[in-house]
Symmetry: C2
Subunit: 359 residues, 2 copies
Amino acid sequence: MWTIDADALESIAIGAGILGTGGGGNPYLGKLSARRLLRSGKRVEVVSLDEVDDDWRIVTVGGMGAPTITIEKISRGTETYEAMRALESYIGRKVDAVIPAEIGGANSIEPMIVAAQAGIPVIDADGMGRAFPTMPMITYFIYGLSCYPCAVCDEKGNKIVYTEGVDAHWLERLSRTAAVQMGGHAGAAVAYMTGADAKRTAIRDTLSWAKRVGDSVRDARFRREDPLDAVLESTGGTVLFCGKIAGVDRRTVDGWARGSVTIEGTDDYAGSTMDVAFQNENLVAWVDGSVVTTVPDLICIVNRDDGEPVTTEMLRYGYRIFVVGIPCSPMLRTPEALEVVGPPAFGYDLPFVPLEVVR
Amino acid sequence: MWTIDADALESIAIGAGILGTGGGGNPYLGKLSARRLLRSGKRVEVVSLDEVDDDWRIVTVGGMGAPTITIEKISRGTETYEAMRALESYIGRKVDAVIPAEIGGANSIEPMIVAAQAGIPVIDADGMGRAFPTMPMITYFIYGLSCYPCAVCDEKGNKIVYTEGVDAHWLERLSRTAAVQMGGHAGAAVAYMTGADAKRTAIRDTLSWAKRVGDSVRDARFRREDPLDAVLESTGGTVLFCGKIAGVDRRTVDGWARGSVTIEGTDDYAGSTMDVAFQNENLVAWVDGSVVTTVPDLICIVNRDDGEPVTTEMLRYGYRIFVVGIPCSPMLRTPEALEVVGPPAFGYDLPFVPLEVVR
């Protein structure tokens, strides 16, 4: 067990922003909310899966919507907490801990905020080992847990409980349209599970991984070293491209930020062009028309200057960035996972070729 | 208390179709479902508000969506019943009776079906004394009852409970988009109330009114008399127009059938043209450009030949019809009701002038 302080928060915001592959919501705003909470004297305790009792009751909490919305529509700060309370009230018992759905920007920090508000720990694990845009892509559901019941709340006081349903795709469809009506962003609580369930279906130690990545970036800044090396070393990734953002095509549609970014190469990549397609998260990267990385492997765009993650909603012309590819968790590379998170699941008629094999 | 048999059902389908002012869902399909249920030996008992105990627990049930959908997407027949069960399960107790939300086509018959399925009575009253397209227009909510919780279910097994929220407008917005995602039509249970609540906020004796209107039309058919006279006499309405449908502009948008119908005058109305605008239900009628009737008064389009209601989704070129105006319930003419159901609530910058005053 470890406790999150302002320093750890700073690192997690950076690390989760990078590992979020563009999505998960703006990490800066998430950090500000959490910092305010820490200043008010609240504590956030992180427990590893090994410290979780098999019969704990756990729920995953986070924001849902388009990251482009979150930088315009400031949240009330209690939506996700209220969603958890609505779920608890529907189930008829309190939960013992929360677990993130994804490692990515605000959605790594949101569970900490809810944990602090409720006075329960957050578990050092998640359901993606990165971020993804839809509910069925969470390992809890890929590996057989039910996504019902699910609660969705907004800042206005609307509360919805999806009590039963066909599957996670239907839950995604119905809850996403609700989030759009709620103003493009809402708090959600889902994946009510036991400690034993979490041990079987979660991806381990990802909060501490995010912290390590952030620590290493901050250390490089302090030493005035290249943040690229720090990111490569702490993530086990490989550099895919370096360059300058030459164009962004981004629309907020159906509750997601969809589009692509074009990057003109510099340094070793001068003369080449990278294109990255995204749906909240970066999905496929091409260099001069050839695929170099696809989901579920991580495609992370990072500011060359200071190692800050450049999330989907922050992409803009002129940024000097580097792009790092990181092999995803083995739990996302099984046949049952690839059916849900592989390139065809996002509409790309491409095979998944592991990053290590392409290079 | 009276029991609905196949004969009463036949009359209610006609009467509720006429009083539904174009909406409420296709009465023919509703009738077929109810008839099948009656044939299977189920009974539907109707109790008047005077027979309702003050501490009964009551819920209103019906279909929501665009009537144009209901004639294409055949319902499973248990959606609305499942919605009631989901609501009961959320509340933690069974209800003693159901009450219609509106008198209108399928939505007058749907509560009978649910009542028969659940073995409870249906109350001879409703929340509109006609049909309207949105949830806030129900007298239960206009006169202060809460619209939360509300359950919405589809034929696929998706179940949603709206547990808390801002108001009936927000409930309408969120549940309507869910119904659209569910395929354009869903079953709903809402307005959990006591018997005392129902006595205060419901419009009385509207099921038996619908039956009386239907009886009178069927009687006219039998006697080969003009169904127009039968409708006028049994509804207390006045004839607004007679003619032939010359054009229909109808789109299914946002979960409603919206548009207008143009009618060329015949008989005493030869040379004149009537236009009627609708959103599921008929909203405003103009003759040669002058307003003759507006919501909340009833604008009912009826087949000249046999007295069958011509609901919004059945409007088509060439039908010979008459249009009857009927004064709405006094409960819809109070200032608080007119704010929600008057012409401006539907986007028309028109005052509400009671039908009796216009003529």
